[in-house]
């Protein structure tokens, strides 16, 4: 199963414990997919957790250069984007 398919199911499962509406969840999944696509093949690490009534997903090891080019997109899809070296934290509803 591709990493994006695993990531989207993980986000959907955790989203059931948040107050994010379905459109916000939909775009959160798109953002995670975009971040995951910058990881090297076969090497993706995901940390996901419910924070307050929102969601935080940390994706690594991402390509900082490629992710920087996608920052406009990511910032439109989620509430908060934090790029820290080779990992990116995506948050919504937090």
């Amino acid at each position: 199963m591709p990493a994006t398919a695993v990531a989207s199911r993980l986000v959907l499962a955790l989203a059931a414990r948040t107050t994010l509406d379905i459109d916000a969840v939909d775009e959160f999944v798109m953002a995670v997919d975009l971040a995951v696509a910058t990881c090297p093949p076969g090497e993706v690490r995901l940390e996901a957790r419910v924070v307050e009534s929102g969601l935080e997903v940390i994706v690594s090891p991402v390509s900082p250069e490629r992710l920087a080019n996608r920052e406009l997109l990511l910032a439109s899809l989620v509430d908060d984007v934090e790029l820290r070296g080779e990992e990116v934290a995506l948050r919504a509803g937090v």
Binding site: R9, A16, D21, D23, V25, E27, L34, R66, N69, L73
Partner: protein, 234 residues
Amino acid sequence: MPESDPVSELAVRAAADDADARGQLLESVRPLVVGMARRLAGRVPAEELEQAGFVGVLVATRRFDPGQGTPFIAYAKGFVVGEMLACVRQAAAPVRVPRSVRDARREVDAAIDRLTAANRRRPTVAEIADASGLDPEQVVEGLHARMLRHTVQVDDVADAVLAVPDAELDTVLQRVTVEGLLDGLDDRSRAVVGLRFGAGLPQREIARRMGISQMQVSRLLRAALERLAERADV
């Protein structure tokens, strides 16, 4: 425009939102589209390629400039082939959805419609689970299935592309183009990406403006982002 080129005249009128001209134009180019679809048919049925080809024709009307002297039929060929090849590429990675997942997706869709109408807002995942009666795993699979890339009906795409005023679209596309994000995207993807990321409109507003469903906007957006994600240079 040469008087001997009635198809080009129809294309100009179609671009100006003349529905009759659009219908006549599609009939005029049908032999071209059908012929190309037959040549490319294989993994993708000819009928599906024809639909993609007609989308290409309508996209071409937006770009066509009769002052350049090229007849519309010759100008549109590249757009027709481009849409058909995109269709073939998409079919190269087929998504097989089990019946149980299709059923779950149907229940999830119905629950979302009911809840949106009743509460006048979009539901949460927990609300969808409660309203659908599905177990959590089925809800996740149903929601995931909704997000998969999906063929959008030709009329919806055509209307989506043609419904956005040129001036407005040009403005938002300029903003996004600066970021180098639109390279390699086709016209329909540019329209959705431009309105979402250039103008900052939410999916529901884009859907309202284009006269299509929010889910169709989501699918067009997702397909555009997937193509972007496949690019190594961005």
